[in-house]
């Protein structure tokens, strides 16, 4: 039998996205809350707590809380999309067999995967928008001299977080497509997600470290997502485009691989 690369269909992907949207519409109040609180905890603990011990002058002329706030937006999108594409996708794939039911309709396996990418992006953007609003308000009320979000370019952040969500969904789905047991996600979160969270320039500027630290940071997706978020929050430069291009190209190259593997898991 000939095998060739499968591409998703827009209509089928939309139907899968629409299923998720319908369910989100029912449960959004309970679903959203933890995703909203977690970044605020980091902001309080690191920004205010640790920030109090960091010398006046902060980083690159910013206070510490100003420095970390935009990066937390990117991290929040990463966590939202990673949970969606790992545990949630695994349950739909193996436990509830939701995908098995869908692929007997005109919606194909490849549409299922692409629809889930789009949904992870949407979820990341929705959470990100809420968190962005909170950061902006906190800045205006409590820190008027050092606004957390200081540029109108920040209005593009939700759109960018959609892209970040899709990127981390592609990565998470790739891992999901390769594993048979749900407990293996401990490896993914401990060895991939958490190190990125800690070492992608959210909490300290990695570029000031000697080689190979900046080089390692450069190959991690979150590093570029953090750069773009920080630039959009404070006013972008030409360098922002380079980081944006990195995210787009990385996502595009990787996106088709989980689709092929997941198709083989659903269609024997």
């Amino acid at each position: 039998m000939k095998t060739y690369v499968r591409f998703p269909n827009a209509r089928g992907s939309f139907r899968v996205w629409q299923r998720e949207f319908t369910i989100f519409g029912k449960y959004w109040k309970t679903l959203t809350f933890p995703n909203f609180i977690e970044p605020l905890l980091y902001l309080a603990a690191m920004g205010l707590g640790l920030g109090a011990f960091i010398q006046r002058g902060g980083i690159n002329g910013q206070s510490y809380i100003q420095y970390i706030a935009p990066g937390l937006l990117a991290a929040n999108a990463m966590f939202a999309a990673s949970f969606e594409s790992t545990f949630n996708t695994f349950v739909k794939l193996k436990i509830d067999q939701i995908f098995d039911a869908i692929v007997t309709t005109p919606v194909n396996a490849e549409d299922v995967v692409a629809g889930e990418y789009l949904w992870a992006g949407t979820r990341a953007a929705v959470y990100g928008t809420g968190f962005l609003a909170v950061l902006t308000i906190i800045g205006f009320i409590f820190l008027p001299n050092q606004l957390l979000i200081s540029s109108w370019w920040a209005l593009l952040i939700p759109l960018f977080l959609f892209l970040v969500g899709v990127m981390f969904s592609v990565m998470g789905t790739l891992f999901t497509s390769l594993i048979r047991r749900i407990d293996l996600y401990a490896y993914y979160f401990t060895l991939v997600v958490t190190p990125m969270f800690l070492f992608s320039g959210i909490f300290f500027p990695v570029t000031r470290f000697p080689a190979p630290v900046p080089q390692i940071a450069w190959i991690t997706p979150l590093y570029h997502a953090v750069n773009v978020c920080r630039d959009l929050a404070n006013g972008p430069t030409l360098g922002t485009l380079a980081d944006l291009a990195w995210v787009v190209i990385f996502t595009a190259i990787l996106a088709l691989i989980p689709i092929q593997i997941m198709r083989r898991r659903l269609i024997s």
Partner: protein, 312 residues
Amino acid sequence: MPAWSEEATVVARNLKKSYGDFEAVKGVDFEVYRGECFGFLGPNGAGKTTTMKMIYGVAIPTGGELKVVGLDITERERDVKRRIGVVPQENNLDDDLEVRENLLVYGRYFDLPKKVILQRVEELLDFVQLTDKAESEVEHLSGGMKRRLLIARALVNDPDLIILDEPTTGLDPQARHLVWDRLRELAAQGKTLILTTHYMEEAARLCNRLVIMEGGRIISEGSPQELIERHVSPQVLEFRAPTETLERLSPLVQDEADAVEQTDGALLAYTADADTLLEKVRSAGVAVENTAYRQTDLEDVFLRLTGRSLND
């Protein structure tokens, strides 16, 4: 005169499916005609479910030809899937959605206009007697209700062909009869049905024609009545007695009956004339405690063809 038309809804020619070195389906040929109810019988591992999966497009054939609703399934998978309905063996309803929502969301996968979906969903809830449960969570439904909802879901696109993999396995008799009623009504509406089952009674009641599969091959094909006539004598006598009595009885019965099977504690004699056979046994003076007479049925055919040993 068959009730169905001669137009084939499914045509399989030397259809094969292998998983690595394992050949699940070793080249089967069959046709399912429009408007008939066609059954696949066979022990576990015979290749029934794999054949079903090939028909509804989730297993890709590794050899031969398969046309479903007149189209090549590997080349036109979306078009085929648009016109078929599938009731899977395992429940895969959407637990995050209520009963009605399950049907609404499923209808969207077929790109049906919203108005059409809304109307059809109410009709289907009524058809499977779940209107009262429309707002229930799926996990609160009984097994029979879940199966009826799966059947309703498979009908949401008004399919030409409905594929049911063990539609009544695990249901109580009331729930089973309700499913049978619904399936008969679908057949009366002119839908083509393909089902697999382990229940011979179900196959005999519902199927116009059926095939018996074993080891990845079709070993017999026909209407339930044809299969009985072809493979077993019309009547069977069951003698129950201690093994030593049966040992003595055996040669006598062997001479008279068309076929004899001995199981633990029972001797089954297939014959066209049970009265004469019974008379001979009595006159020979062998004491048999318990003798049962019945017409042969599909189960006898099935056991004759596929053996009495376990298949797991």
